[in-house]
C-alpha cells in the first residue's frame, strides 16, 4: 500500500513541479543573459490560459492528432509514477525497468510525431521527420548507458540500480559511471529537446523540431502537450539525478523518509535544471546534420562506459 502512496506522491510532485522547472530554467537563462525574465510560475499561468481557450484542430487531422497528447501525458505520468524518484520500492517493479522507461518515452515521442504528420502540413511532417531521426539515434546511446549501469547490479530494474548506488557509494564513483553519466546526459538533452539539439524557444522553421510538430495544437490539447513535455524534462533530469547522485532516496516507503526524499529530489532536480540552463547560455544550436555527430560521440562514451564497467569491475 505504501508503495502506491509513494507512486502517487511522485506523480503529484513531478506533475506540479515540472512547469516550475521550466520556469526556473527560463529564469536562470534570463538572468545570465542580463534580462529580467518571467516569474517562476509563468509556465503554470500559460497552461491555465491554454486550458481556458477553445481547442481548434486542423480540418484534415484525424484521431491520431487527438490521441497524441493523451498518450504523451499517459506515458509521462506512468514513468513519473514508477521511476524511483522518492522511493526505490515502487508499486509496479515490472514497469520500473530502465528499458521499459526508455521505451515509454519513445512511445510518447512517436505518438507526437504521428500527430505532426496527421495535420497534413509541411511543418508537422518536417518536425516529425526530424524528431524520429533524432530519437532513433538517441536510442543506442541510452541503452548502452543502461548497459553500463545495469552490469554493476546485474539488473535493469531502476529501483535496484538506485538502491545499490545509495547504499554503496563505491558503485557510483567509477570511471564507467562517469562515462555513462556523460552519455546519458547528452541523450537526455536530445530526448528532451534542449540545446544544442533543439531549441525550445524558437519558432524559426529552419531550427524547429519539437515546436514544428505541435504548431497546430491549441487550447487544452496544447496545454497537455506542453505540460507533458515539461514532465518529460523533469523525468529525465530526475533519472539523471537519482542514477548518478542516488543519495536521499527512500529505500523504505515510510512517510518521514518520503518527505525527506521529496525535499532532496526537488533540490537535485532544481540544481541540475539550473546547470543545464546555465550551460545553454553558452552553446548554440547545432545544425540538424551535425546532431548525429554529437550523438555518435555520446554513443562512443556509452560504449567506453560499458567496456570500462566490465574491464575495471
Amino acid at each position: 500500500m505504501n508503495a502506491w502512496v509513494s507512486a502517487i506522491a511522485q506523480v503529484v510532485l513531478v506533475a506540479a513541479a515540472a512547469p516550475l522547472v521550466i520556469g526556473l530554467m527560463r529564469g536562470v537563462r534570463a538572468r545570465l543573459e542580463g534580462r529580467a525574465g518571467g516569474r517562476l510560475v509563468q509556465p503554470w499561468r500559460d497552461l491555465r490560459k491554454q486550458l481556458r481557450k477553445e481547442p481548434v484542430i486542423p480540418a484534415d487531422a484525424g484521431i491520431f492528432f487527438i490521441a497524441a497528447p493523451l498518450v504523451l501525458v499517459a506515458t509521462s505520468v506512468l514513468v513519473a509514477g514508477v521511476a524511483p524518484f522518492l522511493s526505490t520500492v515502487g508499486p509496479l517493479p515490472g514497469v520500473a525497468d530502465l528499458v521499459v522507461v526508455v521505451g515509454l518515452l519513445l512511445l510518447g515521442a512517436a505518438a507526437l510525431a504521428l500527430a505532426g504528420l496527421d495535420t497534413g502540413t509541411a511543418f508537422g511532417g518536417m518536425g516529425a521527420s526530424r524528431e524520429v531521426t533524432i530519437a532513433a539515434l538517441v536510442e543506442p546511446t541510452a541503452l548502452l548507458a543502461v548497459f553500463a549501469l545495469s552490469t554493476r547490479v546485474g539488473s535493469t530494474d531502476l529501483g535496484r540500480i538506485v538502491a545499490a548506488g545509495a547504499t554503496d557509494p563505491a558503485l557510483v564513483f567509477t570511471p564507467a559511471s562517469a562515462l555513462a553519466a556523460a552519455a546519458l546526459g547528452v541523450a537526455a538533452l536530445a530526448e528532451a529537446g534542449r540545446l544544442p539539439v533543439d531549441n525550445p524557444a524558437t519558432h524559426l522553421e529552419l531550427t524547429m523540431v519539437h515546436e514544428a510538430m505541435v504548431l497546430e495544437y491549441a487550447g487544452r490539447d496544447l496545454a497537455l502537450v506542453e505540460w507533458a513535455a515539461a514532465m518529460r524534462l523533469s523525468i529525465l533530469l530526475g533519472l539523471l539525478a537519482n542514477l548518478f547522485i542516488p543519495w536521499g532516496v527512500a529505500t523504505n516507503p515510510r512517510p518521514a523518509a518520503l518527505a525527506l526524499a521529496a525535499g532532496v529530489f526537488v533540490v537535485k532536480v532544481a540544481g541540475l535544471a539550473a546547470l543545464v540552463a546555465a550551460g545553454e547560455v553558452f552553446v548554440a544550436k547545432l545544425r540538424l546534420f551535425r546532431v548525429p555527430e554529437l550523438l555518435a560521440g555520446s554513443f562512443v562514451l556509452g560504449l567506453l562506459a560499458v567496456i570500462a564497467s566490465s574491464v575495471l569491475a
Binding site: A59, D60, F64, L70, L78, A110, L117, T133, R220, D221
Partner: protein, 672 residues
C-alpha cells in the same frame, strides 16, 4: 491415438481436400472454399503444435509412403512451436484469403493459384514435423516449389513478377543444394539418416565435419530466412506475390529457415564452438541493421515490410547466437532466456507481420498502389484497416505496450547479462550487439511512424487513395484475428512460458526460464522483471483518464483550416511524403545506403541562362545486390556463353567427351 498424430493427419487430409476444392469448385465459391480449407489446415496444424508443446511428443515411421527411405515423422516441443506458428498464421491468412482472392477481391482467383495454397500450408507443416533427413528435404523442396507457384500467381498482370520469381527460384534452389549437401554429409558421417540416430551419434563427429555441415546448412537456411547478404529474393518475392501469399511467406515460411538453424545447430550437432555462434550473431547484426535501414528508406509498402522481415530475422538470430554462446560458456539459465527471446520473437514477428502484410493487401486492394508517396488519408476512408494496421505497427516498432517490445526486452536482458569470465571477445561483442538492437529499434520506430504517418494519415496524395473504400468483412476478420494474436502476445506472454521452457530444455539450454506466477515475466539467472500487462493497462488507463479529465474542461474541439502561412489553401502536394520523411535518416546513413542522385537541367532553346525544367531523381539501389550479385550473375552468364561452344552439334565431339570422361574415371580409380 496421439493428439499430434490425429491433428497432423487431419491437416494433411484437409489440405488434399482444399486443393481438390480449388480445382473443381466453381469460380463463385472457389476463394471461400480454399480459404476456409487453408484455415482448417492451419487450425489442425496449430492444434498439433499445441499438443506437442504441452508435452505430447510423437513419432512415426511410414516405410511405404516413399520408396527407399520411407517417411519418418518426429514431433518434439521445438517442432510443436513451429507447427503452432505456421498453423496459426495459416488459419488467419485462410480467413483473409476468403475475402481477398476471387470475386470482389483483389488477389488471384484462378484454379491453380488457389489450389496450391493449402498444399503450401501442408508442406510448411511437414518441414518441422520431419524426423529424418530425407523427409525434411522432401518437405523443404515441396515448400519451395509450392511457394514459387504462388509467387508466380499474378505473372500475367504484372511483368515484375517474373523477375521476382526467377530470383526466388534461383536462390531457393541454391539454398536447397547447400542444405542438401550439408544434411547428407551429416547423415553419411553419422550413424543414419533419422534425426534420432544423428542426434545419438552427433557427439563424436570430427570437428571439420561438424563445422562444414553447420556452415553449409547455415548458408541454405539463412537464404530461406532472408538473412543479409542472402536476401535479394525477399523484397522482390514478398512485394510481387499476392498479399496473402506474402503474409504466409514472411510470417511462416521464413521462420522455417530459422527452425533449420536451430534444429541443426542446437539439436543435431548439439551446440558447437563459440565461433559458430559469433558468426551467426554477426550475420544477425548485419541483417538487422541493413534490413531496417533499407526499410526506413523504402517507399514501396510491401518492400518495406519485406526488409523489416530481414531485420526481425536478424534479431532472432542474435538471440540464437546469444543462446549458443551462453550455453557454451556454461550459463544455462541465460542461454535459456536468449533462446526464449528468439522463440518468442518468432511468434511475435509471425503475428504482427501477418497483420501488416494483410493490411498492405487491404491498402493495395482499395487503392491499387503500394507506393507510400501516393497514399495518405486512409484513416478516414478505411478506419478499421487503419486501426488494425496500427496494432501491427506498434508491435513491429517494438514500442511498449506492443508485442515486439516483450521479445526485444528479453533479448536485451540476455545480451546485457555479463558473465564474470566472459573473455575479451564477449566484452566487446555484447555491447555492440546491444547497440545494434537499440539502433534497430530506434530506426524501426522511425520506419513505422513513416508508414503510418505518410501512408494512412493526413490527406490523400493520389487518386487511388482518394477513392479508397473499406475492405470486405472476411479480410477484416482475418486481420482482426491477427490483431487479437498480437494483443494476446503483448499482454500475456507468460502464457507461452511453459511451452518455451519445454522447447529450451529439449535443446539442452537453461532450466526454468520464468519463475513465479502472475502476469509478470520473471527470469531465472537475471534479476529483472517485466509486467507487460501493467504497462499496457497503465498507458491505456492513464490516457483514458486524461481524456475524461480533458472533457471536464468542457469545450468541444472546433475544426479549422491548418495554418497555411497566409498563402492560400494547403494542398496534398505540400505534405511530407515517405521519401521526404526518410530523407534525414538517409542522409545520416549516406555511406551505407549510397544513394544515386541525378539533377537534369534543361535549358531554354533561346538562351543557356534560362532554365526550362529541372528534374531531380534519386534512387536507392540495394547496394549488396549491386556489388555482390550483379557480378555473380554476370559471371554465370559469361560461363554459360562460353560453355555453349562445347556443344556445337558434332557427334564426334560428343563421343570424344565420353571417351575422355571414361578415361578420366579409370585413371582416377587407378591413382586411388
Amino acid at each position: 491415438m496421439n493428439p499430434v498424430a490425429s491433428a497432423l493427419g487431419g491437416a494433411f487430409i484437409l489440405a488434399g481436400l482444399g486443393a481438390l476444392a480449388g480445382l473443381v469448385s466453381p469460380a463463385r465459391w472457389r476463394s471461400a472454399a480454399v480459404g476456409m480449407a487453408s484455415a482448417a489446415v492451419g487450425v489442425a496444424g496449430a492444434a498439433a503444435g499445441v499438443a506437442a508443446v504441452s508435452g505430447r511428443p510423437w513419432q512415426a515411421y511410414l516405410p511405404d509412403v516413399l520408396p527407399l527411405s520411407g517417411v519418418r515423422l518426429a514431433v518434439d516441443p521445438l517442432s510443436g512451436w513451429l507447427l503452432l506458428l505456421v498453423g496459426a498464421v495459416a488459419a488467419v491468412v485462410g480467413v483473409y484469403t476468403a475475402g481477398y482472392a476471387g470475386q470482389g477481391g483483389h488477389g488471384p482467383a484462378g484454379r491453380g493459384a488457389l489450389a496450391v495454397l493449402p498444399l503450401f500450408v501442408a508442406s510448411m507443416l511437414l518441414v518441422p514435423a520431419a524426423g529424418s533427413v530425407s523427409t525434411f528435404l522432401l518437405g523443404w523442396e515441396l515448400m519451395a516449389a509450392t511457394s514459387l507457384l504462388l509467387v508466380l500467381a499474378e505473372h500475367r498482370h504484372n511483368p515484375a513478377v517474373r523477375s521476382a520469381a526467377l530470383w526466388y527460384a534461383a536462390m531457393t534452389q541454391a539454398g536447397f543444394v547447400s542444405v542438401l549437401l550439408g544434411l547428407t554429409w551429416l547423415a553419411a558421417a553419422g550413424t543414419g539418416e533419422s534425426f534420432a540416430a544423428i542426434r545419438a551419434g552427433g557427439v563424436d563427429l570430427p570437428p571439420v565435419t561438424a563445422s562444414g555441415v553447420f556452415l553449409l546448412c547455415l548458408a541454405g537456411f539463412a537464404s530461406k530466412a532472408g538473412v543479409v547478404p542472402l536476401h535479394p529474393w525477399l523484397p522482390r518475392a514478398h512485394a510481387e506475390a499476392p498479399s496473402h501469399v506474402s503474409a504466409l511467406m514472411s510470417a511462416a515460411m521464413v521462420k522455417l529457415g530459422v527452425y533449420g538453424i536451430v534444429r541443426v545447430g542446437f539439436d543435431l550437432l548439439g551446440g558447437g564452438p563459440r565461433w559458430w555462434w559469433l558468426l551467426l550473431g554477426a550475420l544477425g547484426a548485419v541483417s538487422a541493421l541493413y534490413g531496417i535501414l533499407q526499410a526506413a528508406v523504402a517507399t514501396d509498402l510491401k518492400r518495406l515490410l519485406a526488409f523489416s522481415t530481414s531485420e526481425n530475422v536478424g534479431l532472432i538470430l542474435l538471440g540464437l547466437a546469444a543462446a549458443g554462446v551462453w550455453s557454451g560458456a556454461g550459463e544455462g539459465a541465460v542461454a535459456g532466456v536468449a533462446l526464449a527471446a528468439a522463440l518468442l520473437h518468432m511468434a511475435n514477428h509471425a503475428a504482427f507481420k501477418t497483420l501488416l502484410f494483410c493490411g498492405a493487401g487491404s491498402v493495395l486492394r482499395a487503392t491499387g498502389t503500394r507506393d507510400l508517396d501516393a497514399l495518405g488519408g486512409l484513416s478516414r476512408r478505411m478506419p478499421a484497416t487503419t486501426t488494425l494496421f496500427t496494432v501491427g505497427a506498434l508491435g513491429a516498432a517494438a514500442l511498449p505496450p506492443g508485442n515486439g517490445f516483450v521479445s526485444e526486452w528479453l533479448l536485451l536482458q540476455a545480451l546485457l547479462h555479463q558473465a564474470p569470465q566472459a573473455g575479451a571477445v564477449l566484452t566487446v561483442a555484447a555491447p555492440v550487439a546491444v547497440a545494434v538492437v537499440a539502433l534497430t529499434a530506434g530506426i524501426g520506430v522511425a520506419t513505422f511512424v513513416k508508414v503510418l504517418g505518410t501512408g494512412f494519415l493526413a490527406r490523400p496524395r493520389g487518386d487511388g487513395a482518394a477513392a479508397a473504400v473499406e475492405s470486405p468483412r472476411w479480410m477484416l476478420a482475418g486481420m482482426g484475428l491477427a490483431a487479437a494474436g498480437c494483443a494476446a502476445l503483448a499482454v500475456a506472454p507468460v502464457v507461452a512460458a511453459p511451452a518455451l521452457d519445454r522447447v529450451a530444455s529439449g535443446l539442452r539450454a537453461g532450466p526454468a526460464l520464468f519463475e513465479g506466477g502472475g502476469v509478470d515475466l520473471r527470469l531465472a539467472g537475471i534479476a529483472s522483471t517485466l509486467s507487460p500487462l501493467w504497462v499496457a493497462v497503465g498507458v491505456v488507463a492513464l490516457a483514458v483518464a486524461t481524456a475524461v479529465a480533458g472533457r471536464a474542461f468542457g469545450r468541444g474541439r472546433r475544426r479549422a483550416p491548418a495554418w497555411d502561412c497566409g498563402d492560400g489553401p494547403l494542398t496534398a502536394r505540400m505534405e511530407y511524403t515517405a521519401t521526404s520523411f526518410a530523407e534525414p535518416l538517409q542522409r545520416v546513413f549516406d555511406d551505407v545506403l549510397a544513394p544515386e542522385q541525378d539533377v537534369d537541367v534543361t535549358h531554354s532553346a533561346e538562351s543557356a541562362y534560362l532554365v526550362r525544367a529541372v528534374q531531380y531523381r534519386r534512387r536507392l539501389p540495394d547496394r549488396i545486390e549491386a556489388r555482390l550479385y550483379r557480378p555473380l550473375v554476370a559471371a554465370v552468364e559469361a560461363a554459360g556463353r562460353a560453355g555453349r561452344r562445347l556443344a556445337n552439334g558434332s557427334l564426334h565431339r560428343y563421343l570424344a567427351y565420353m571417351l575422355a570422361a571414361v578415361v578420366a574415371v579409370l585413371v582416377a580409380g587407378v591413382i586411388r
